[in-house]
């Protein structure tokens, strides 16, 4: 046989000297598959372990206190008070306020990034704001307590009280700086980058032709965004808002450092100190003496977990439904 022909009678052609290789690791694939499933399943294991451990350790508190935490305001173990309402109220209030600030800001920034500036500028600005998402909570806390709080207490809050707004009850009381207002603002800055990034991504996916059709009909930039782009983007943005909500609910360090640790009352004014579930947890834990107290704190952690889990589940369901309706992978 000439050197140019390939001999196919022996596997590997005429050049092969050895016997054909067998796949000696024949059970390699099923093993691999099971290994990877096991790894993937650890997250489920972790979650069940989490729930189990939290429930087990809050059992004491649940048993002894019953429904009392959900009906009482003050948390003061020294005087045998274990109310969670002050914490729950603060969590919801700061979260809602933070969202009210962050969502419009995020949409405005996303509009700019997608429609108003040169793509290069959009990337630079977008990246800068995404970097804000990488800043750890403790840094926000440091900045919050040493810079923002004095600023609020000495300048901004008195200024607000000097305007007609000051007559409103929610801006009353003597400004302390470490209050719900400051905490909400810091919190809003922490969730802003995430919502902005998702909004921008979703808005960028609106098909160009449809936007051109809108502009072609004589619409302004705002009209195209509001009447056309938002219809594509709404589902994705709503999902981002839900997820942002989830994060805001669980945010601990920065909030703890600027909210004022008022575990005892529900604040009447934004300029009063308050607390959140995570702040109560973080601030009371080092002092925790008795088993009951520890257990009640773990119960608070459990409550927080349940709340954030509900939001996660609702967000996932919403997003899945929205994806089905628009057929997109937003």
């Amino acid at each position: 046989m000439s050197s140019g022909e390939v001999d196919i009678s022996t596997p590997g052609g005429a050049g092969a000297q050895t016997r054909p290789r067998r796949h000696h690791f024949a059970f390699g694939d099923p093993l691999f598959r099971w290994f990877t499933i096991a790894c993937a399943a650890t997250v489920a294991l972790a979650m069940f372990l989490l729930i189990g451990v939290l429930v087990k350790n809050s059992w004491l508190a649940i048993h002894v206190l019953g429904i009392k935490p959900l009906t009482h305001v003050a948390y003061n173990p020294d005087t045998n008070q274990y109310g969670a309402l002050s914490s729950l109220f603060g969590t919801f209030l700061t979260t809602i306020l933070a969202m009210l600030i962050a969502v419009p800001l995020a949409l405005a920034i996303a509009l700019l990034l997608v429609e108003l500036v040169h793509p290069l500028v959009s990337r630079v600005v977008g990246t800068t704001i995404e970097m804000l998402a990488a800043v750890p909570s403790i840094i926000f806390g440091m900045w919050g307590i040493f810079i923002v709080v004095p600023l609020m207490q000495r300048h901004i809050e008195p200024w607000i009280q000097a305007t007609p707004l000051g007559r409103l009850g929610i801006f009353g009381g003597s400004p302390v700086g470490v209050d719900v207002f400051t905490a909400s603002i810091v919190l809003s800055l922490m969730i802003l980058p995430f919502i902005t990034a998702v909004s921008r991504d979703v808005l960028q996916m609106v098909p160009k032709v449809v936007k051109e059709a809108g502009y072609g009909m004589g619409s302004t930039t705002y009209e195209v965004m509001r009447k056309i782009s938002m219809r594509y983007a709404l589902a994705g943005i709503a999902g981002a808002v839900f997820l942002g909500l989830g994060r805001a609910l669980g945010e601990t360090m920065a909030v703890s450092m600027v909210i004022g640790a008022n575990f005892f009352t529900i604040p009447h004014s934004l300029f009063q100190s308050g607390t959140t579930v995570s702040a109560t947890l973080a601030l009371n834990f080092p002092e925790s003496q008795s088993k009951l107290e520890t257990s009640s704190l773990i119960e608070l952690a459990l409550i927080l977990f349940v709340i954030t889990m509900v939001f996660q589940v609702v967000a996932q369901l919403w997003l899945a439904r929205a994806r089905r309706m628009t057929g997109s992978r937003a």
């Binding site: 051109e212 809108g214 502009y215 004589g218 619409s219 056309i228």
Partner: protein, 292 residues
Amino acid sequence: MVDIMDTIEPGAESAVDRPLPPRLEVTPGVASYDTPAQFDALPSKLSVHDLDFFYGKEQALFANDLEIKEHRVTAIIGPSGCGKSTHLRCYNRIYELYRDQKAMGEIAFDGANILAPGTDLLSLRRRIGMIFQKPSPFPMTVFDNIAYGLRMHFKLSKSELSERVEDALKRGALWEEVKNKLNEPGLALSGGQQQRLCIARAIAAEPELILMDEPCSAIDPVGTAKIEELLQELKSSYTIVLVTHNMQQAARVSDYTAFFFEGRIIEFGATTQIFEKPVQRQTEEYITGRFG
């Protein structure tokens, strides 16, 4: 700011109210419709003088001159990449959405240069409608799609709005097919229907000039035939410029044809003349399929 609304004659509120031009004479055996004298006498809806266009540093259009006559269908043909769509998109300045695209020269719309800096783009784009190659219904119901332009540019009562929507759909030859589907999403219609929806949507806002950028290339033959039929009806009320890579379509549907090649207008004339007795060699080569 030059308000382009100032160029509308008083009393002529909308395109459908305007006086019709003299009817085209079709004399069997004669190679053109309008005689040259008639052509010159017809008002030009759009007059292009010395139009240059740049994508960044690269020039795409070179000294284009064109007269688009009222109530006529003008077709723009040429091989792909020759600048047909680029040229068309200058008419409503839609290219301005993209930073590195630039047009220079003069485009006189009813006498006023729309490339001038002070032009009111919002009004311009109401008076010029555009249909794109890919049907692009807005993500809304059929009704809301048609009502989009109406709601944006005019103050109408609910009943007036419904009337106008129905009217636009009838003029767009779509009413019979969608009259029971007004509240369904526009995207639920077939491709050909979506494109007619886009046409009806453009008409609803009472434009005077309609630009069509290869409107049938994404549509099946049946849908295409319906749209071509529609074009003949629309001609009496609007001026139409049609970019197409389908020569037969241009021959079927248009009154005048401009042949583009590599960013330049090689020849412009009555459609029958272009297709039967082209003057330029390049035109003839394209028509006979020697390149494309």
